[in-house]
Symmetry: C2
Subunit: 517 residues, 2 copies
């Protein structure tokens, strides 16, 4: 993928003249701060200034955005973070917080010459408490390591997602990351019990706690959850844990239309209720590029219908259902009853006249295979051509409309050949979270697609009660579209909050909020 | 209960001279606003100024605090609320939002001559959507009516509590109310999907949405959840619903010590996991005043031990466990296995050598009876003498320490006779939420108890990782103690937020935040 026009425009917005340029004096100060060993761990921080060393911190995960930082600061403790931010605020030095750098909206990299503050060295082993059913972790702890520490104590960390091997706890809190188990365990707003943050002014806000209920004044930790490093740097957090499920069951369905997917979802709520842990949907078109041996059903497509220009719904839908519970027997019974009930109610819509029976996984290997299909979808799509990715959300009954609409625009209005450009949808159905992907297989339709998709996709969200960002956040990528999902009064209050907390606007500039004009 | 010294001091704090006195000119303006019929419902608002009519709005639920409002404003729509607040901000008129007036921290009443803005007339029937599993309700909708509307559609509203017949949705959102099912379904931060708020400046923030995932910029609705009407008036909200459980099971246990309660809780997590919906604890002393026919176990007390001054733990503990699930058979099986496992693991601690077998409810009537015991506790305690009520929270392994500590202070340090003053603890164990109650049965120990409890109880919370307010909030009652649960930096940010959003401080003054000095 090359930069879209929007991204290009944003990327080349002018550097704000209000920021100072970091010079030798500043770097000497940072070095002196980072050379002070942490009073707890005795570890010193680090500063990187060599181009070769700073390079990976300058580029985003998708290799689209490239900044030019003069220095990457790697503190080891909250005190160092505080000293750095206080100084940056005074000296008007712009700084971008960075965790695992897996964000997908160009939020964690410098746009111009911002300093990078990486949490990488703040990664003491997380502390798991069975009694309070919580884990305390420094910002730089990698998600997967945190999950593993919890699992060792018989506890489940509520968040998991494809980027778990690199994403860091501070990053997941700052982006209010969602993932696969969101429908069951909720968002970071539901699960973060305590937080330590250094504000843009350098103040340390110690809001650490493992209490479940605590209504002693405004609950300010929510200001920092999901504000993508524009209001403060998260240094530590305490997160609620759940009982590690003893049983995990999966089933896969092939359905002939969207109405049946919706009906199946309501049936799942009824039959699986408290143990439902995932309800993932993939349209038939999204499976086009997956290896044949991964797809358990005969693949069909509707290219002729798309070309004819009257019917833009999917050829079929695949649904992956997962349950997590405390009893293997009970969960298997519930799942079996659910499958039977679905067969009775949905009949041919489900079985395709007997050709497509539901698959009830019989082994861990089969479960892994079904998840491999789901997790492979974005990977195989991305490697098949130039890809446009949208992470949007809708009320679940309107989950699929954005895909149909985009097909209409691309195939009918812009007359693109459906054999050359895929328009597909998949995602976390229970959360209304659609991943709309458009793949230019021949890499020859940039002009039509740029015209078709910007700002059309986001405007469609706005017009249909959807959000332009379900889980990935805003960053620089969607900054200029926030007004489509938020009212002017709400955006004004966001700006007031930002101004109050970060008078010189030094923390993660050019991101999330509209540019000052 | 008469006012405690703290409450008295707060109550008689001087009226702030920065506020204007509402005169005829102001009232005429309000009347003109309220006389405009709402553009949707065509209903006009109301204004009450007669003493007899305003009286109930001037007094809190516990009849402790009495304000003297010149007028109660009863708008019917958001536009009227906006006009009222914009005018109050300009004219420096203080105003207190009021819902069902069931708050227990003196937050919803005027302290002096603040205007009352009641949401009572904003109570259109709530709109339940099965598709999005959410309900949209105006601020003045009564909690129980909202629950019933949801139940009719097969959905469960996540919040329930003793005040459900009077508390209003806007009030529950503004206090981040907890209640019995908090451990299962989470807080208002977890369940509020969308919010409409009128800020203290009169701006309407339309953040209504039923989306599950929406990371398009700062999630500002959290600022208003739990800020007790000091930052804005909630006019509408959309709240997440859950599948109505098909099965509800209960069991009761009698345990000989706190360690066994903790062990039982961990066993419940293991065996009941996804279907556990309540784990309520009552110490033996809290059952002293309940009618004998409600208490299924032989009552004992430890007055002699308390008097001897060396052992302050409870005589015994009662635990009420509830499950909610989708299968009667499964849930009953899980509960039975849990009971068996508890008997094996806890032996005599649980059964008292066979004298106290666990009770597995066999009928709806028996379940109702067990809940009656639990819900009756505060009622019977309150009617037995002068009561001091504390709603605090601790990490669950320290749940009971505050009760033991208070006994030590009252019985040992202040030499109060345990037969004349009860010190008891009960509450939502899973949330670490202890209700510490001290009951002066002879109404003759005010001096010792005032000295023993203030500020001792709150200071003990602070020293042991607890919160001075678990679910009831701060209001005027705990305003002067917030610093025990929040750091100076955090309180400073609360004040900054308040100042930014309400420059003249007109919205619910004298509450939540320290008084300006
Ligand atoms: C393969 C893949 C799969 C993904 N799947 C999902 C998914 O299912 N759900 C989902 O929600 N996201 C997903 N993402 C996006 C991404 O992983 C998440 O947004 C993640 O939470 C980012 O964490 P990070 O540590 O990499 O943060 P970064 O990318 O380093 O930073 C993200 C943002 O947070 C800020 N930030 C980082 N650390 C801090 C801190 N300590 N304090 C303050 N601000 C900070 C940065 O400035 C930036 O704005 C996926 C990404 C990839 C590459
Ligand atoms: C018998 C009984 C049992 C209770 N049990 C529980 C329990 O289990 N858990 C629990 O958490 N609480 C409990 N409470 C406390 C109380 O019911 C809750 O705090 C409830 O949420 C208050 O709702 P309300 O509508 O009565 O609000 P009010 O008492 O009218 O107001 C409470 C606060 O919110 C503000 N407010 C009210 N409406 C609005 C609005 N629309 N916009 C902005 N601010 C507003 C007020 O200014 C005030 O500060 C109980 C109370 C009683 C009397």
């Amino acid at each position: 993928m090359s930069l879209t026009p929007v991204e290009r425009a944003a990327h080349y917005a002018t550097r704000s003249s209000r920021f100072a340029k970091a010079g030798p004096k500043h770097l000497a100060y940072f070095k002196s701060v980072l050379d002070q060993p942490c009073s707890v761990t005795q570890r010193k921080g680090k500063m990187l200034t060599e181009k070769a060393a700073t390079a990976p911190y300058n580029i985003d995960w998708m290799s689209q955005i490239q900044g030019d930082t003069p220095a990457v600061l790697l503190p080891t403790c909250t005190k160092q973070v505080s000293a750095i931010l206080r100084y940056c605020q005074e000296e008007k030095l712009a700084v971008v917080p960075q965790g695992g750098n897996t964000g997908l909206v160009y939020g964690a990299e410098p746009v111009f010459d911002e300093l990078v503050l990486s949490t990488q060295l703040m990664s003491a082993p997380p502390v798991v408490s069975k009694d309070t059913m919580s884990v305390e972790a420094e910002a730089g702890v990698i998600l997967q390591q945190c999950q593993e520490a919890c699992a060792k104590a018989g506890m489940l960390f509520p968040l998991t997602m494809g980027s778990k091997g690199s994403a860091m706890i501070g990053g997941t809190v700052s982006t209010n990351a969602g993932g696969i188990h969101f429908a069951r365990y909720g968002s970071m707003h539901a699960n973060v019990l305590g937080l330590e943050v250094v504000t843009a002014k350098g103040d340390v806000l110690n809001m650490m706690s493992t209490l479940r209920k605590d209504n002693a004044g405004y609950d300010l930790k929510h200001l920092f959850i999901g504000s993508e490093g524009t209001l403060g740097v998260v240094t530590r957090s305490a997160i609620r844990l759940y009982q590690q499920p003893r049983s995990k069951q999966t089933a896969m369905f092939r359905l002939s239309n969207f109405e049946s997917v919706l009906a199946l979802y309501h049936l799942a709520q009824e039959h699986l209720a408290e143990c439902l842990s995932a309800f993932e949907v993939m349209d038939g078109e999204s499976l086009t590029t997956s290896p044949a041996n991964q797809v358990p059903y005969k693949r069909t497509d509707k290219n002729d219908a798309f070309r004819a220009g009257s019917d833009f719904t999917a050829a079929y839908f695949c649904v992956l259902v997962e349950t997590n519970g405390s009893s293997e027997t009970h969960d298997f019974e519930k799942l079996s009853e659910f499958v039977e009930s679905a067969q009775t109610r949905l009949g041919d819509q489900l079985s395709g006249g007997g050709a497509y029976e539901p698959i009830l996984s019989q082994s861990a290997a089969q479960t892994a295979q079904l998840w491999e299909l789901r997790e492979g979808v974005p990977v195989h799509l991305a490697s098949s051509g130039r890809i446009y990715k949208y992470d949007v959300s809708f009320p679940i009954d309107k989950f699929y409309c954005i895909v149909e609409h985009t097909r209409e625009i691309v195939y009918k209005k812009h007359k693109v050949n459906p054999a050359e450009v895929l328009v597909v949808g998949y995602g976390h159905f229970g959360d209304g979270n659609v991943h709309l992907n458009v793949i230019d297989l021949t890499r020859s339709h940039a002009a039509e697609l740029d015209a078709a998709l910007y700002p059309g996709v986001y405007e469609f969200c706005a017009a249909h009660g959807g959000s332009i960002s379900a889980e990935h956040g805003v960053g620089m990528q969607k900054r200029d579209y926030v007004h489509l999902s938020r009212t002017p009064e709400t955006i004004r209050l966001m700006q007031d909050v930002k101004r109050m907390m970060d008078p010189n606007g030094i923390l993660n500039p050019y991101k999330v909020l509209p540019l000052d004009t």
